[in-house]
Subunit: 222 residues, 2 copies
């Protein structure tokens, strides 16, 4: 389930939102100021970050601007909590990289429907078969990958191998798992075959995406 980070200096609001979101099954993370929020965001890479606009120290706009500078945090959605009659556009919320805003006082039902809408939008963008992983996008429908805005055509096995590894970033796939998924259970090929394909992929997108765990398998990181 989606990870949501909430940043607000008022403990009551944090708790109110936490309660309502956890009830719906979201994984909730909390921070009580901008700096803390940035640190937590780097740690958990949430799907959605809810920022209070008015906070002591670093305010929401500033925090948002900072967040968007961090490579891992260009995909997450960012929503602001604002007072009802603030002119959000004027304040520069969208320029700072925000996706939406939610008016205070918070009504749980409104909050939830808003968040569901946001996340649906986000995942419908990515579940079409387009996976965005930092500077690397994998489009299963078009059978291409895009690396730093450059389209690359991978042959079938290479594409499927990369698609498998990247489907669960961080997870180590054993050689057997890879063989079963990419080649199919009954096919018998020498195990060096996998290495060669990994080599080919690394040649095209760089070494750092696929990491070798000696004796165990391979994992994708970005």
């Amino acid at each position: 389930m989606a990870k949501i980070l909430i940043v607000d200096d008022e403990p009551d609001i944090l708790e109110l939102i936490r309660y309502n979101l956890e009830k719906e099954g979201y994984k909730v993370f909390l921070a009580s100021n901008g700096l803390d929020g940035i640190a937590k965001a780097k740690e958990v890479i949430p799907d959605l970050i809810i920022l209070d606009l008015m906070m002591p120290g670093m305010d929401g706009i500033e925090a948002c601007t900072e967040l968007r500078k961090i490579p891992d945090l260009q995909n997450p959605l960012i929503a602001f909590l604002t007072a009802r009659n603030e002119d959000f556009a004027q304040i520069g919320g969208f320029e700072a990289g925000a996706d939406d805003f939610i008016n205070k006082p918070i009504k749980p039902k409104v909050l939830l429907s808003r968040i569901k809408g946001l996340l649906r939008r986000k995942f419908s963008e990515t579940e079409n078969g387009l996976l965005v992983l930092g500077e690397l996008s994998i489009d299963k429908e078009k059978y291409i990958i895009i690396h730093r805005n450059v389209e690359i055509n991978l042959p079938r096995k290479e594409f499927e191998l990369l698609a498998l590894l990247s489907s669960k970033p961080g997870k180590v796939f054993s050689r057997d798992e890879i063989l079963n998924n990419v080649w199919g259970g009954d096919v018998v090929v020498g195990d060096r075959t996998i290495d060669v394909h990994v080599r080919k992929i690394r040649e095209k997108i760089g070494d750092h995406y696929i990491k070798t765990i000696k004796g165990v398998g391979y994992k994708f990181e970005f």
Copy 2:
């Protein structure tokens, strides 16, 4: 059924329109100001947005301009509610990206017929069958294609194959998908048949439109 978002600061008008549209089976969404309207629009991606021109805070024109900047919201129709004697063109409604305007006071019958007309126009424009893909146009009604201003008559299978591939440029269609769509699920033909048709099409419009993804299928690009 079509989704319609109504943005107006007067609750009475919202209710009036909602009542009439829901009666006709439309899915109706409401917002009471420009910012809220933008947020809702992003959430539901309506087919038609009805904006009141005069609203406190962000007015209709401004909201419309903002809406059209959002990638997901370039297709929806936008109609304005205006006072009877305002010169809509002068105000800049069309420049802001509006498709139509409706005069107040609202007469339900007029409103409904106007909306039906708009939606019919929208859907007939996109389903009309003329696909323009760079130098290649595909006219499903006339069953012809136009390549660099030259009309070409393709035999049925060739036409349908090209129409299928070009319906989602970039997407790779597997041989099975192609067989199911162009030939029909129960027909059994040798798989080389597809290649031959691809060859014929390439002969007529050039090689670069249809790309082979070995072991996967074919895709259309332009």
